[in-house]
Amino acid sequence: MANLAESAARATPPSVARRVRGLSDRAIAWIFVAPTIFLLLAVNIFPLIWTIRLSFTNFRANRNREVEWVGLRNYERILTDSDIWLTMQATAHFLIWTIVFQVLIGFTLAWLINKNFRGNDFLTTMIVLPMMLSPAVVGNFWTFLYQPQIGLFNYIVSFFTGVDPSSFEMIGSVNLAPWAIVIVDTWMWTPFVMLICLAGLRSIPEYIYEAAEIDRASKWRQFWTITIPMVLPFLMLAVLFRGIENFKMFDLVVLLTGGGPGSTTELTSINLKREAFEKWRTGYASAYAIILFVTVFGLASIYVKALNKVKER
């Protein structure tokens, strides 16, 4: 050991060695960690604190005027604004239905793909393709698919139901637009849930099923007492990822509906962007952002606790 340290000391250039000499191990460790900590403070912690500060003011980033301290008024206005509750509702609708569909379809696909059959690797690749596409591409070509006169989506619906294809507009109608974005997000992100479920299913060894078979458990009982509990931690993780992602959903929906018609698909992130960078109510938008952050953070924390409990079981 001593030799190693000596030769290491000798390998250090004399100029550096002179400067470092006399510093404790702890000090040297801090020298290594400091740049990262500084960067973290500069790009994460400082903006967060600054946003909190701004949220108590009537600051507008496009005006050069005296900034007034308004206390909790921004928060009060946001929480009592019925329009904001509508966007919250739209977000909840989007969040819940995308998760429900993606979990159901994703798990079913994973379960089917997990069976051994010819070409299941190829099929997996095909299914996974949508999630590799850019949201910009997906948003644009689904706009075409949803086009009432020439769109494939309307044509297929009419093929199966007999409804006239140009009689409904997915994007233009107040009733259908919230479902239009749910469909596209499900199409794009179900493969992600499927992949995670597939990893879960593949982690269950075959011999567990053999033991269950010997223990006289029916396929149905094997599914509910072995497959589901053993995949559940994976599934919950997928839901967490999708939940957080979709709470922040912006690009896909902006490209598809732009928040319309009216504000039926105006999710909170779109609404927030309008407040901050179209209306330039910076203080107000800061408070809005803080509320959203606390909501996501709180929900995610509760959820992660539940997830850990499931894993421990």
Binding site: Y207, I208, E210, A211, A212, E213, I214, D215, R216, A217, S218, R221, T225, I226, P229, M230, E312, R313
Partner: protein, 331 residues
């Protein structure tokens, strides 16, 4: 409990024949041990009986009825796997109760609690009942796995090297315990091992498998004293049988290629002079490593023997076993 009969059962995986025309009767209440090295077809035989694999040809009867068309659940067999196969997301209690909760059985909850408690007591895992299955040591996992079979009342217990992963003391304890349980329940048990002590101490019948064929079947004593081939003779006995050229000692019958000498087949103090290479004092026995015309011989001697390396000992065969060139026993 039931009698289990295999008749002409064969099973191949691709080109490898795992089980080759095996006919075997496991009598009701018997403790049958299948012996053989890795790849002899022991595990495959168990899987064929349990229904996890289907034979290519032949028939399997449990309690007189052919079970070829039945699922493992319908066959009512219990199996202990070599690799534990516990349900990792369940507690020990839930693992033990799992087979009893089968809708086929409709066991009342009080009965489940009683049985699980009883078995846990026998296998010394009562204090671990609420632990998660994965939070156990290897030995404990295997005991839970044995317990999961024992809570049931199957037609036959199939056990695939259940003790191989346990430490020596636990193995000895459980060996006695398993034998006792089997005798108490009057259970029919088919047990796979490559440990000859397990075979000799527990079995009512031993079957020796060689590359998928059942080469000899009978009581352990008979297999030991009357092996049909050099292969079978080599499966039982410690120290292992010494296989030497037949002409090393006078008196070999015609056609004999190999003479098989167990320690009890060697008389010391008479016959040919051999040199002592090593003396191993094991406590309850003393092993003698000898060399004769360049051939190594291992035998036993008096526990308090004063022999030392370099000494010479005269040895002569007494009622040895003779085998021909193919390894078949001829005398």
């Amino acid at each position: 409990m039931s009698e289990v009969v295999l008749s002409g059962v064969s099973k191949a995986f691709r080109k490898t024949v795992a089980v080759n025309d095996v006919s075997l009767t496991v009598p009701d209440g018997a403790f049958v041990v299948l012996l053989g090295p890795t790849g002899a077809g022991k595990t495959t035989t168990l899987r064929l009986i349990s229904g996890l694999d289907a034979p290519d040809s032949g028939d399997i009867l449990i309690g007189g009825r052919s079970v070829l068309g039945e699922t493992p659940a319908q066959r009512n067999v219990a199996m202990v796997f070599q690799q534990y196969s516990l349900y990792p997301h369940m507690s020990v209690r839930e693992n033990l109760a799992f087979p009893l909760r089968s809708p086929i059985l409709k066991t009342p909850e009080a009965e489940i609690t009683r049985k699980v408690g009883e078995i846990a007591e026998v296998l010394h895992i009562a204090h671990k009942l609420d632990n998660k299955a994965t939070a156990l040591s290897g030995g404990e996992m295997q005991r839970v796995s044995i317990g999961r079979a024992l809570v049931r009342d199957p037609d036959i217990f199939l056990m695939d090297e259940p003790l191989s992963s346990l430490d020596a003391k636990l193995r000895a304890d459980l060996r006695v315990e398993l034998k006792r349980i089997q005798a108490d329940l009057g259970a029919t048990l088919l047990y796979v091992t490559h440990d000859q002590i397990e075979a000799m101490t527990m079995a009512t019948h031993v079957g020796v498998l060689d590359e998928g064929r059942l080469v000899q079947f009978g009581p352990p004593r008979e297999i030991y004293e009357n092996p049909v081939s050099l292969y079978v003779a080599g499966r039982l006995g410690l120290p292992r049988i010494n296989a030497l050229p037949a002409d090393l000692f006078p008196g070999a019958p015609g056609g004999a290629k190999t003479i098989g000498l167990r320690p009890e087949h060697l008389v010391q103090g008479d016959g040919r002079e051999s040199r002592v290479v090593r003396v191993e004092h094991l406590g309850d026995q003393t092993r003698l490593h000898l060399t004769l015309d360049g051939h190594d011989i291992v035998t036993l001697t008096d526990v308090h023997s004063r022999l030392a390396p370099g000494d010479t000992v005269a040895i002569a065969p007494k009622n040895p076993l003779y085998f021909d060139a193919s390894g078949t026993r001829i005398a």
